[in-house]
Amino acid sequence: MVSKKKKKYSSGEGAQFMTRKAALKKLQLSLKDFRRICILKGIYPREPRNRKRAQKGAGGIKTLYHTKDIKFLLHEPILWKLRELKVYQQKIRKARAMKEYPRMRKYLRDYPSINIDHIVKERYPTFVDALRDLDDCLTLCFLFSTFPSLKRVPRDQSLLCRRLTVEFMHAIIAAKALRKVFISVKGYYYQAELEGQTITWIVPHHFSFQPQSKDEVDFKIMSTFVEFYTMMLGFVNFKLYHSLNLVYPPKLTAAFSDTDKELVDEQAYVAERIAAMNIPVIKLTGANETEELPEMDIFQTEGEDTQKLEEAKQEAEKVKKLKTMFNGLKFYINREVPREPLVFIIRSFGGEVSWDKDLFVGATFDESDESIAYQIVDRPSMDKQYLSRYYVQPQWVFDSVNARTLLPINKYLMGAVLPPHLSPFVDKTRDQVYKPPEERELLDPNFKPLNEEESGSDIEEASDEDKEEDSEPEDPEQALTKQYQQELQEESTSEDEDGEGGDMDPEKKKLKKEKKKAMAVTTGVPHKEHPYQKEIEDKQAFRLREKLVRKKHRNLYKSMKAGQEKRKKEIWLLRKKRRLHDEKAKQEKKAEKRKQKLQAIEAASV
């Protein structure tokens, strides 16, 4: 018996994939609808391992989809809705063609909307999943919130984006979740941390809308993406507000109501949006004012883990400090400064903000308020200045957030040439690069270059010989133990002297001595830890663990370690070079000065 011949491409990669055309036929959808449902459901085209086989022998590059993906789509109830919509659209078209305008208007009014709540839940089974995918969503929503009504974008979409983004910013403010900010030429980069997920998004600079050239971006597709993302952001907002004990939806202003009958200009919209950000959100009754995070527990473990834990703890402390950085500080923003990012940042770290109440709505206090701590200005000089406040440039706020402390303002004063605005989004591998002391100072406000004081003035130089005499202040505990030991020694010597004075027969003496020896309390020697003992043990343990690295990863590990060593060495070498150079320069300077002094003395004596 000959078994039935298997058809080619009926199994394996040929059966796994499906061209877009086949998918359209299978789902009985138009291309437009298919694109839409794919975006909504998160179905993406695939790249096969072997294209020729996947395309069933056909050449060229076709858009392929997983057959399973398409079969999955087949079960979607929205599919039926889309088909119904098609019929509905035909009705509208017919009414228009027949010039039955009342009927057409009725159809347009009753145009059925598709509910996609269940898709959000399906694509993101947990809240954390949704947060993880929020980057794209936020960037697009912030971008669309600046758009006017466009041809291929539904009219209410930008309005909805505006509402949702402001709500999200409020949630970030309430959660104090903002971590990093960066002003780039592209826009403002923000990074927040929610439920352990870092979320990064870009907010464009506020310009008037620039018309997009039509052949660059498919607006219809982007609008579909935004349609899904607004839905997702709405539910994320709801969840965030509830976890923060806030009322959702928050009552912000009338700006986001649907009454767009009155023409409001763009500026007014923006002003209202910023004003909305300055309003504290209503808390649920019975909610605690401050939620203290439990302090991190450190479990005793060895080696690098403790180091990592220590680092983590420090990080947590820094973050805690950052969260309350602007607490109780009042800021006044001059009118030339972009308000939106500043209000968002200052409010999210606990500060209070206000602006010119004549120009924009939502100001909370006046410029003449004496309790204002900082006024943010972006102009070289001002006519009227208050003594009670600092006048700083906006970059100070951003740099302070990135440094996680209030930076000294002397470099950011009004009219000063600003230090460069560095990106906080640099990866850690860049740490293993030599940085000259000047750069290190920029990055780390606590870093003190060694020769700063010495190079400063003559007095310091004169007294640098005295410096050596100053002994370092010891630990008080160490001093105490030293004293105690000295006292003990003194006592023991005196006792010995006493013993020698007495006269007794040698036998008794011997016995007594023995007895005494048995009874004697030997002087306690304080347990002295070998200072390097622990380190040595740690090192040994570390080496042992190194040996346990699997053979698969051993080479990688070795090369990593070697690279680290190499970079460390380079840094060390360059630092040494710099130190030697600095010392040499200093000595030369000193010699020069001494020479000058001598010359002056000689000149005076002659």
Binding site: Y44, H75, N115, D135, D136, H205, H421
Partner: protein
């Protein structure tokens, strides 16, 4: 000879067999005739005029004349008119098919009950009108319509309210219970009756790796800061320069292998070439300079002089044999010797093999690492169109004012997003085709044309009127 049919003997014992083998066609025919007569009437009773027609015209000539008259086809409109009189096809079913007449010739028409207002109903109608029932009915209808509309509108707005904790456990909506069943009066059994199972039968395959692993918002280059440090900005510019150089190199290469491959020829040279090509094979005028020089002094020489087959003698043969044998012997000796020396060479061989293997392993590793790096950054090929590569952002040094107030940008963030989606494989690359506007040729309908003559005529006429 006519064939004599053999009579077949069949059993007609039972009723079934009887029926099977009895020819009852004639009886049935008769009955059929009778039924027909009943329907159409008997032939004998009908007058001849009904059954026969006197052919008064006769012959084929007449028929021809008839055809000529009927040739004229009627227009579509006329055909429609003709059809107007016919009973529509859809009503044909309602017509009686039988020719049997209704035995009751005069039947009374009976209206269905309720169609005619009775005296009693008239009174009640008046009463209800007085009561204002009809106005109320209209009112209720209007109200209902409004409620329905409101409901529709609310359903539409529902999509923007976000009042469900989607990731909560306890809400019925989260379980997938339809909204119509979310009511406190509906028992939980009824609510849960139609809920889909948690786990779908056909789970969705995992999304492509590129979509999952690649960051949506990449960490920005520190050089694109609005007020970058000198070093970082220089690094950014270096990146841009390198990128641009790569492009230029590629372009130069393309030029070299395409346009540059063909040497340029002047017009004159080309003509000469053409002339030469066209005149190949044609008899050339005799040129004595081209004649080959005679080598010898006119002596005859055959092209293929005869060859003599000189045989080798015995000695030569023997010598040759010996030579070959010696050669073979030496060869064998060499091989034997090599076998012995190879034994001593074993370590060297081993080490050389080891080295080769090591080198190959290293190369393999390098290749794998390179492939891995490429895989993480490779652009997905999802379409015949190429996915746009990520280009380093260029910040013009003159654009940097170090001032937040005067910041200006040329970056199109939307395009950036769009291309990022394509680079992550969430979208297939596409070349957007704009719809071309149809170029409509405009012309005047002949009757509506206004020429100069028309204008003149109009002016004349208007002048004459005055």
């Amino acid at each position: 000879m006519p064939e004599i049919k053999k009579k077949k003997h069949v059993s007609k014992k039972n009723k079934k067999d009887w029926r099977k083998h009895c020819d009852i066609r004639d009886v049935e025919e008769f009955l059929e005739d009778q039924r027909l007569e009943e329907r159409l009437g008997r032939f004998d009773s009908k007058p001849d005029e009904e059954l026969f027609v006197i052919d008064t015209q006769g012959g084929d000539e007449i028929q021809e004349v008839k055809t000529i008259t009927t040739v004229k086809p009627c227009s579509a409109k006329e055909r429609k008119r003709q059809k107007l009189a016919e009973t529509p096809k859809c009503f044909e079913v309602l017509l009686p098919t039988s020719k049997v007449k209704d035995p009751n010739a005069k039947r009374n028409h009976v209206n269905p009950s309720g169609t005619k207002p009775t005296a009693l109903s008239k009174i009640t109608e008046i009463k209800r009108l007085k009561k204002g029932v009809y106005e109320k009915k209209v009112e209720v209808a209007r109200k209902n319509r409004k409620i329905a509309l409101d409901k529709k509108r609310r359903a539409k707005q529902n999509s923007n309210t976000f009042d469900v904790d989607l990731w909560g456990k306890d809400t019925p909506e989260a379980k997938g219970i339809p909204q119509t069943l979310c009511d406190e009066f509906i028992p939980p059994e009824a609510q849960l009756h139609n809920v889909l199972p948690d786990r779908r039968l056909r789970p969705k395959p995992a999304p492509p790796k590129t979509v999952v692993s690649r960051a949506a918002v990449e960490a920005p280059h520190p050089g694109i800061s609005y007020n970058p440090s000198f070093k970082e900005h220089q690094e950014l510019l270096q990146d841009v320069v390198q990128h641009e150089q790569k492009l230029m190199k590629r372009e130069a290469h393309l030029h070299r292998v395409t346009t540059g491959m063909f040497s340029k020829v002047t017009q004159q040279e080309r003509e000469n070439q053409w002339r030469e090509e066209m005149s190949t094979g044609l008899p050339q005028p005799h040129n004595p300079a081209n004649d080959p020089e005679p080598e010898s002094d006119g002596e005859y020489k055959a092209i293929n002089p005869p060859v003599q087959n000189k045989k080798k003698d015995h000695k030569a043969r023997r010598k040759q044999k010996e030579r070959l044998a010696e050669k073979e012997r030496l060869k064998r000796l060499k091989v034997e010797k090599k076998k012995i020396t190879d034994l001593y060479k074993l370590r060297q061989l081993q080490s050389s093999i080891y080295n080769v293997h090591k080198r190959q392993a290293e190369e393999r590793e390098k290749r794998a690492a390179k492939r891995a790096v490429e895989e993480t950054t490779a652009l997905p090929a999802l379409n015949a169109h190429k996915t746009p590569k990520k280009e380093p952002e260029f910040v013009d040094p003159q654009q940097l004012t170090g001032d937040l107030r005067q910041i200006n940008t040329k970056v199109n963030l939307l395009r950036d997003r769009y291309e990022s989606l394509q680079r992550r494989g969430a979208l297939a690359a596409a070349k957007l085709m704009m719809k071309k506007k149809k170029r409509v040729k405009s012309y005047f309908k002949s009757g509506h044309k206004v020429t100069d003559q028309d204008v003149d005529r109009f002016l004349k006429r208007s002048a004459g009127k005055k």
